[in-house]
Amino acid sequence: MREERVRKGKKRERPVISVRNVSMFFRVPVENTSSLKEFVISMAAGRNRYRTLRALNGIRFDVYKGEIVGIIGTNGSGKSTLLKIISGAMTPTRGRVVADRKSIQLLTLGTGFDKELTARENVYLNGAILGYSREFIRRKYDSIVEFAELQGFMEQKVKNFSSGMVSRLGFAVATARDTPGILILDEVLSVGDMFFKEKSGKKIQEMIHSGATVLIVSHSTDTILRNCTRAVWIEKGIQKMTGDPEEVCRAYIEYGKKRGGAG
């Protein structure tokens, strides 16, 4: 299956996501001034210094239709920032991302649920924010509930739910769309209990097979090895390696060992 997808011939098409030399610098104040008073004081004292945090530095890669690309890296390596830039929530400092923003769906779980509302209300609210129309949610409502295995719980407030139930619902809502052209998964492959994990894994496989292009972000080599056709390794904002998942993961593990040994 995987070999089929990596066919060299595919590379000549136009990429669906093109990350072109993307850099993201944050100006981080040396002293964190989150209050106006502090800000004024430090400005008056002339010590409102900033240092530049290079969250991403010259990242470039292309993603082609039907590919499953994994982005791997340790915590705080800039993966999430890259996702935000690709999905259009942020504009990079330098470089740009060319992609059809309309067909991108970012799948991060448990976000955007209001615990004071019932599960039903949350499905509508969350769906609206994900870009579903009212009619679409109404049509899909039953299948969402069924998939999340929450029949009979929908009129309850989400604050009474277990975290597993919340993430199941989140997964069901986020994947309700028929064919997201580009699916971005942020550490969501391990949702719920063992049985739901199997089910969500199957659903993701389904989406992948439906011809969607997938971008998976993870710090686990397992996830990457199991699902991806290509991997990009980002470390401290620098693109370390791009290529075959097995090679990239091997290098990544090697690096982790070395770092662990040194530390």
């Binding site: 989150s34 955007g112 609210l125 924010i129 129309s133």
Partner: protein
């Protein structure tokens, strides 16, 4: 503003309203009850004091209070709208202005409910109907845009400085006293009156009192002032909001 944004705003507004009353038995009735009770309290205290200078004191007060209450609720809730919804902000592809806008709309819906109380009071005090009353929605619309503009500015400021909330609450207290909410303007010395006339909120309130309570046309200068303030603040809000999009996402 496309259909999807409209749908999101609807959902956000209905969420806010349900949330607001999720712990109370009477629910949305509080929107009606609250101004009435506030009016009762203020009337109890000030009615006899201002009997000579203000007739129909409860109506006088309520007219101002409804506008004031809408304005403060709208701006106060819009202020925290970006910070409260930071999880959603990273996901949506919609214009982020839906968040402050939804909060202002929520306050507006509440305000519309409290107009039911207002109507009862108008009937109770036998305020005669005049055609000028039909100008009231125009005034409400201008307050809406004024509050929206200021709400957008505050929401941006609040992302960067949490203290804005405390500063603003002090400012609001001052502002309330400068809006002639529960006393007659004529009570003040000349210089003070001139100052208060420059206050946009006072213009809105005075115009509403003219239309409803006194059955007369607000002066052209008042109309001009209201229009300029609401348009100016709205545009400033939209401009500042758009200009700081990227930095907001970084900060959140």
């Amino acid at each position: 503003m496309d259909r999807q944004s409209l749908f999101v705003i609807q959902e956000l507004v209905s969420r806010e309203i349900r949330r607001k009353y999720s712990r109370s038995k009477l629910g949305i009735i509080w929107s009606v009850l609250n101004p009435l009770l506030s009016m009762a309290v203020l009337s109890l205290i000030f009615s006899s004091m201002f009997r000579k200078s203000i007739e129909n004191y409860p109506v006088y007060y309520l007219t101002g209070f409804l506008i004031w209450n809408f304005f403060t609720t709208a701006t106060n809730t819009a202020m925290t709208s970006l910070a409260d919804n930071q999880m959603l902000i990273l996901q949506v592809k919609l214009p982020r202005s839906v968040f402050p806008l939804a909060r202002v709309c929520t306050a507006f819906v509440n305000y519309l409910y409290s107009l039911a109380a207002y109507l009862c009071i108008l009937l109770l005090f036998r305020i005669p109907f005049t055609w000028y009353m039909l100008l009231y929605p125009a005034i409400a619309a201008m307050v809406f845009f004024f509050a929206l503009g200021l709400g957008c500015i505050l929401s941006v400021l609040y992302v960067f400085f949490g203290d804005v909330r405390h500063l603003y609450s002090v400012l609001l207290t001052l502002w309330m006293y400068l809006s002639a909410l529960f006393y007659p303007l004529e009570l003040l010395p000349e210089g003070m009156q001139a100052l208060i006339r420059q206050n946009p909120i006072y213009s809105f309130i005075a115009a509403a009192r003219d239309c409803i309570l006194y059955g007369r046309m607000p002066g052209a200068d008042v109309w001009a002032r209201m229009a300029l303030w609401s348009l100016g603040v709205f545009l400033a809000g939209a401009w500042i909001f758009r200009g700081s999009q990227n930095r907001i996402v970084q900060k959140l």
